[in-house]
């Protein structure tokens, strides 16, 4: 038990280290110049060198991302419930949603800047609008494919639509809700960082853009690594919540 959990805790680290070694090896072997692709060691060095600046920028990015993501979760669940519970809304809303989401959000950032100035607000909004769609889709799919047998259990009690949603719809869709959170949080990071590169004085996006205009590619990649790390931390958080709440769905997970 403890041995396995130790092992399972170690694997991501091991795979990360393997990846870094591979990356370092390839860059050195092919003499790839650092303005194309810096080595991870150079990137980590840059991260260390600029740690206090990175810390400040990362905190800002984390804050805007989580803010936007939180709105996305609330809105996504709400819209997903709406879309998933009625075919008419599904038909009306889905093409528009898909159309909207096919559009690169970076094109909308300047519009946001006109209204809100540069800084936190556009980043939060960008993180929100870029990340709510996967949640909508998975929640809607979860509700639309709810087994009629389970639905009937509640209907036979004269339950309202909301009851059905709360008591069987959401719990049933929970594994996929969490799946969509994993996608959504990564997109939220992308959104806030993109917005920061276009319109902000702070945040990892600004840091990366400013580093790249100063030829400091290792610092650019340090920024990428920091985002990746924050993404992973958020993911691990959801993972823990998920494991607690969807044990039933993984009841026969092969543990091999």
């Amino acid at each position: 038990m403890t041995k396995r959990s130790l092992q399972s805790r170690a694997t991501p680290w091991i795979s990360a280290i393997v990846l870094f070694l591979l990356w370092e090896g390839i860059v050195r072997l092919f003499h790839i110049p650092d303005y194309v692709l810096p080595t991870p060691s150079a990137s980590l060095e840059a991260a260390w060198k600029f740690r206090s600046a990175i810390w400040m920028h990362a905190a800002q990015t984390l804050y805007t991302t989580l803010f936007g993501f939180a709105i996305a979760v609330v809105f996504g669940v709400f819209l997903g419930a709406l879309v998933g519970s009625s075919r008419a809304i599904y038909n009306a809303a889905n093409p528009l949603l898909v159309g909207f989401n096919s559009v690169p959000k970076v094109a909308l950032v300047p519009v946001l800047v006109m209204w809100f100035g540069i800084g936190t607000v556009p980043a939060v909004i960008t993180a929100f609008i870029i990340s709510f769609f996967p949640i909508v889709v998975n929640v809607a799919t979860g509700l639309a494919t709810l087994e009629p047998e389970l639905r009937d259990v509640l209907r036979s009690l004269g339950a309202t639509r909301t009851d059905i949603l709360v008591k069987v719809g959401f719990p049933r869709a929970l594994p996929y809700f969490f799946a969509s959170l994993k996608v959504a949080i990564t997109l939220a990071f992308v959104g806030s960082v993109i917005s920061e590169t276009v319109a902000s004085n702070v945040g990892v996006g600004y840091l990366m853009l400013s580093a790249s205009s100063k030829f400091n590619m290792p610092l650019v990649f340090a920024g990428l690594l920091v985002i990746a790390a924050m993404g992973i931390i958020m993911y691990e958080f959801f993972n823990i919540v998920e494991r607690r709440s969807t044990r039933w769905a993984n009841r026969a997970n092969p543990t091999g």
Binding site: I118, V198, N201, S210, K214, F215, N216
Partner: protein, 316 residues
């Protein structure tokens, strides 16, 4: 006394050439004029113009040639520049010596790289006309700004366009020595454009003229101090953006000062004003380059109403 809040958008990120504004703020020159100025980084001249046009910002730093284009496409919302910062524009083309290109005619049949929004690229038709090239003589490849210097060094393109103080430094960073570069500065080929200037929103101009004048006074003070002591300006910049490379940005600031800001004209009359004739000619060339149907008048583009007095414009 109560300070008037002013939102000021730069044309680009916090780099050496934006240090004078930061310095002015740091030294309290804006505050002395009763202004509480917020300085935000920008994302290019297009953004800097629309930010002010839409009222999101009160003042911005932007390329005056882009303003000509904006006014032509939005005559009902036309805006005016109130102050010229770069008396000599930084528009240039860059080649490597080993390419064998030594004069503009050698560009025939070559491939050039730059982003579509790059001012030097947009003004290339004027350069071509001035040097007897035809537009079909070259092929353009579009790419993000940071990509162009590496692409040039690797030989993916034969030449690139860009601001002098950006691309020269980028190329140096790629390991290209100054003597291995060939640079065509547009200004050296009879193209008497102006460069970046200060724009103000209609509201600012109509209702806060004094503050605008004060802003410009403070701005000149910033430049004056930066010219006198570039290191101090860069130090101020570093406080805002701790990530900057001090040596690099000092170099950049010095290049801007020497190349774009300090001209005989400016030394004589101070920073800010323009010559009507020169501007008229520039508008003509720009309109040609951009294919504008009804080129604006100089008065539509620039106004001197808010220009500080000559003594306040002296930079040395």
């Amino acid at each position: 006394k109560a300070e008037t809040p002013v939102k000021f958008s730069l044309d680009w990120k916090f780099e050496g050439h934006t240090a004078p504004y930061i310095l002015a703020k740091k030294k309290g020159y804006f505050a002395d004029e009763g202004l509480d100025v917020t300085i935000d980084s920008g994302n290019g001249s297009v953004g800097a113009i629309t930010r002010v046009a839409s009222g999101a910002y009160d003042i911005s730093l932007a390329d005056i040639n882009s303003l000509v284009e904006f006014n032509a496409s939005h005559p009902d919302q036309a805006m005016k520049s109130v102050f010229m910062v770069y008396d000599r524009p930084p528009f240039s083309l860059f080649m490597l010596k080993k390419s064998g290109i030594t004069k503009p005619e050698d560009l025939k049949g070559k491939t050039l790289g730059a982003p579509v929004f790059d001012a030097s690229r947009k003004l290339f038709p004027a350069f071509a006309k001035a040097t007897g090239l035809s537009l079909d003589d070259v092929t353009w490849k579009s790419m993000d700004p940071p990509l162009r210097e590496p692409m040039l060094v690797r030989g993916d393109v034969d030449a690139i366009s860009g601001h002098y103080f950006t691309s020269v430094l980028n190329l140096e960073n790629q390991g290209v020595k100054r003597e291995d570069m060939v640079v065509f500065k547009y200004a050296d080929y009879g193209l008497d454009f102006y460069g970046n200037g200060i724009l103000a929103s209609r509201d600012m101009m109509e209702n806060h003229g004094d503050q605008l004048r004060g802003f410009l006074r403070a701005l000149v003070k910033g430049w004056r101090d930066a010219i006198a002591n570039p290191d101090e300006a860069i130090a101020a910049l570093k406080e805002v953006d701790p990530l900057i490379d001090t040596d690099l940005e000092t170099k950049r600031l010095n290049m801007v000062i020497e190349d774009n800001v300090i001209t005989d004209e400016v030394l004589a009359h101070g920073m800010g004003p323009i010559s009507n004739d020169r501007m008229a000619k520039a508008i003509e060339q720009v309109s040609l380059a951009f294919g504008l149907q009804n080129p604006p008048e100089v008065a539509d583009i620039f106004t001197s109403i808010y220009m500080p007095g000559e003594a306040d414009r002296k930079i040395k």
